[in-house]
Symmetry: D3
Subunit: 254 residues, 6 copies
């Protein structure tokens, strides 16, 4: 099976890091294809950027020319998953939700350690909408901007681990979720310091995409995620209109 | 004061209907400027379209060249309000929330009557995120697509009123909210049949925008709605990149 | 239009302060008539006093001889709003709810800074019943009794601002609501120290009363707020029975 | 021990019926003293009347000249219990809450069958504030006004039982609570028809008052129910000011 | 009436302490019969032990040969109450719930002080399932294992009181509940230090069992607590199969 | 990897059906070992039986002599998962939760169709404790006892599908979960009739066990699921005491 893992920002090095983590998690026979949006912000840290990214991710998937069996939206706490579910027939897994689902299986509560303080409310909202906030002990910010994570991995581990320790001690978290796609690969270092299981969303999403595909399951189309109704659309898909990709590349199925 | 009322779809006649309702609600001295997005769907009926519309609305406001004191997002249950709040210093009022706020002041519960069944979950989610779902008795669908509302106003009143009557009787609603920007102007006809107060979101939003401006209040910038951080952005604003408007038109303040 | 602003206690100087704030907030053409109950406590700080005050406020409105278009109950977190809604045909706005409604439009969360610790549960209960507690970050007490607010405004600002700062920092509040009718006028001083928008309930209530009246909306009479059923009542209205006002003064409409 | 059972309305025959039920429930050694307010409505069916009744009940207890060990507020879903708790050192038990507490011990869910439809929201609110709404399957109205209950007991049983049957079948209630003080004595007739245990609030309150007294427990005075602060009060207690009772009768302890 | 009070562990001295507290709380005419399970753990501190204990308690009640009027499960936060309710026709009262019910009658909020940190989630879950968590301010651990409570009563009081003080100050608790059957008898010492009413679950359960029996009420059998359906069972009752008691001892009614 | 799939009842044919479904879902390389408890009820339909089953399942796993990598508890809505998590170091997956997790990934809401009406509350409780009830549209009963499912598969499909259709239409479910281990294999037949994806818990649990194992994750031992503390235990493990298995068979790791 082939899984598209779509980064939510335009930073190629981050796409590569996410792809590496996805490949590490993948079962034999699972092929990972990592995509970077054709437009949008270099990192997503706020609602305005997240809405733009949601559209850029949908656009990027439409631009992908070839078959695939599942799509992973690899941005933590970002808008857009519902749109992909409407557009596609294959399963769509958001890394925020994937991490929360697996965390709830191995601990009574979990905490998310994310980047900036401003990301906290957005993550809480996404978890709430997915029905996964009840067992979330806290969402904490490490204070590190997204792009600094890869520039300074030592500091990243230090700051994330510090918040993880507080989450376990003060918020009674039993599992830690790394709250940014760019934190993939830091699990072991954080686990050592926090003393509880640590989860990365991309890895979790790969396993859940494999699970759904393995059981022959995909998105219910009965109501919320029914395909868009046919209607006039101006300048869509945006990337094609902008000349960033060519419509003939578009997949037939979407 | 000047209020920008931004339609969420590209249908000009709907922009005009919304503008007319807004002007009717406006106090003397409130100027209404109605805007239509430069791109996006002809009507918004689902998440994929709503995410695209969210971006198109932000783009449209950035394209507006001139001063203004408040912005109204005139789509019911749509994504995007948080992005506008980050981009702008003036108050931003979403018509979904505006209607719910006023409804809660005049009844213990309210019901929303919207267009298609598929819109129901999205409206519930937006009300939940805004903290306004607790007193919502139900969100009901009339079965009418957005664009049919203006083509067939008699049928619209009939179908909407039928659901309103059921909401009052079966769901114990005490106030009815019209759940689509395109229903503006149907209040009186529905009120006569349902026997309870009926609210239109655009009208409510105009009064709340006037209220906030009148008290010198605007969006808190301390955390969730802080301005976007400066960073590389590809192809933003989209409308300008697409040649739909010219960057020199952009407002300085945003 | 004329708005009755009813203080909940018998302290005339507080009625005047509230009236001043209401007039400052009022649009041109909005006349403010401030009323003091004919009986009850000098300040309301607890349930026993609040229940008595609820009755005294209803009694005071019944005693008012003349037309009016809306009524504001100017006590923070007090009982009684539902009773007024049953008695009257015009909109009734409680300052607690008014402040919360506007706060939710300009921030994701708000905190209330009130007077004594004992007032906190009552405010939480009133917000919960109104369906407005979900986005309330905290209700904090400044430790100042109601009547000390006007005797010692400098200390009031200092204590309120200190709690406001903590609410923003520790409870993640994005907007501050002044939790006592007697705090009207302190907004600017608290805002300077807390760094977030600050709202006074009386001012908010004036704008919402104007909004409802401007849209021709009033309380739904279908169920919860239906008029009292005709029946024998002993000693009602109490103020008239006590000789504090004369029944012939009573408004015909109530 | 002596328990004051205070009717919330001025209808003497209803006080007597409540007293009879209380005496039937009382353990040997428990003396029941039933009181009727000195003023207020003949029946309580709505918020305005309920607020007035709350004050009349407090006034009536203050007028009582003699020792007592607990107070029962015998109105279903009415305001006022918190005020009594502030005024008194002895336990105060509200019949609404008492019934819910015992119902939750003998079934997973319970439904309340009350009088008029307009009483439903008020009962829901009181249960919510008491933290007892989570296991309430429904509050249903029989359509019978309070005073008709004793005039037409056969019809009362028929209408109440019909709603009880629906609550068990449609709302999945496992216990029925009689939702009006005036329904005392109908338990057996309703139980026969509904096939589940049926509870009367007055009886439940007597047992809970005995329980608290038996364990030497009374209201916590640390915060919410602290005694009223000393301050000027106009025309309080109202009944004394109205000449309905004489201040020299007042208990020293309150 | 006779009440069976069943300890959840096999420690005889703890059964005796619980029995003593139950007898102290019992009304004249209430006979207390205290039972110790025939098998299971010496103390219950975790889910595995609690599930085993749940079965051992049911087994012990089945082994009891003689009439009784109510059963009390005297373990705090333990599994099993629903099973007893299915097996028996008489009322079943769990001490966790009993304490919470009475606590809610005398304060707006309560906190539980239990033994080990690991017991906290289990207690929260049991309160949540019983619909009693809403007014629970916190569940705090004293750090003392169950069996140390009786070995070191002075230290027990010190540690429990310390957490009680924090619960009142930091969590805004107004009542303290002793969160272990083995804490019976420490109420007064903790109350002196914490300054708020303190409740023991066993005592509370005795009064509630008396209340239900006094009103002729028992478990609703309509759905959740219907008797087990007749079917093949291997090795049940376990204690009889293990030769720990003889089937001829079993009560006819169960 | 080897996964133990433990049936919750003693009916061997049901163990085999569950094993077959598990093997069908398993990835290449996943070995399924299906176990039947040594004691307990022939089917689990209520709390008393479920508590007994919880203990029998723990006992059965302890009796298993050999290595394994994960344990699946194959009973829908049953007690006991937390106990297994304390006893074991490998991941434990409950089929109720597994089905809900996957259902939430492919639809906004899901409904469970179970056997008897009396099972409904227990399933709701288990989902609530797992933090998975928020997106559950309903739990419906087909009216079929557990053991009749395999005796009458045609009727089973008919009754289950009928409730599934109602769940989709009336409760707005977008995914159906089969609410009994014994329904494994009916997915396709129900899906055809209901028109939405249908999930079996055993299959879902196999994929989630593979997911956790594949990522090297297991239960957090920091608090709720810490191993039982060493202490005297009477007659544990029960099966060994009963001579149903021999202690020397017990795994060293547990």
């Amino acid at each position: 099976m082939k899984v598209l893992v779509v980064n939510v920002n335009t930073t190629q090095s981050m796409t590569e890091a996410i792809a590496a983590r996805a490949r590490q998690a993948a079962a034999p026979g699972t092929e990972i294809e990592a995509l970077t949006p054709h437009f949008g912000p270099a990192s997503v840290e706020g609602n305005m950027e997240s809405y733009l990214s949601a559209v850029a991710v949908m656009d990027r998937v439409l631009a992908y020319d070839g078959p695939y069996d599942a799509v992973i939206q690899a941005g933590f706490g970002e808008h857009g998953r519902e749109g992909l579910q409407e557009l596609l027939d294959v399963p769509v897994v958001d890394i925020t939700e994937a991490a929360a689902h697996l965390a709830m299986l191995i601990g009574r509560t979990y905490s998310v350690i994310t980047t900036l303080d401003r990301a906290v409310p957005q993550i809480e909202d996404r978890l709430a909408l997915a029905g996964l906030l009840g067992r979330c002990a806290s969402v904490r910010a490490s204070g590190l901007p997204v792009l600094e994570l890869e520039q300074n991995p030592d500091r990243a581990v230090k700051e994330i681990a510090e918040q993880a320790v507080r989450a376990v001690r003060d918020d009674r978290a039993e599992v830690i979720v790394l709250g940014c796609g760019g934190m993939a690969g830091l699990e072991e270092a954080v686990r050592e310091r926090a003393g509880v299981p640590v989860l990365d969303g991309t890895a979790a999403a790969v396993k859940l995409a494999e699970s759904l595909t393995g059981l022959g399951l995909s998105t219910s189309k009965i109501r919320t995620y029914a395909p868009p109704r046919p209607k006039p659309m101006t300048a869509w898909p945006l990337g094609a209109q902008l000349g960033l990709w060519h419509p003939r590349e578009a997949r037939t199925r979407s």
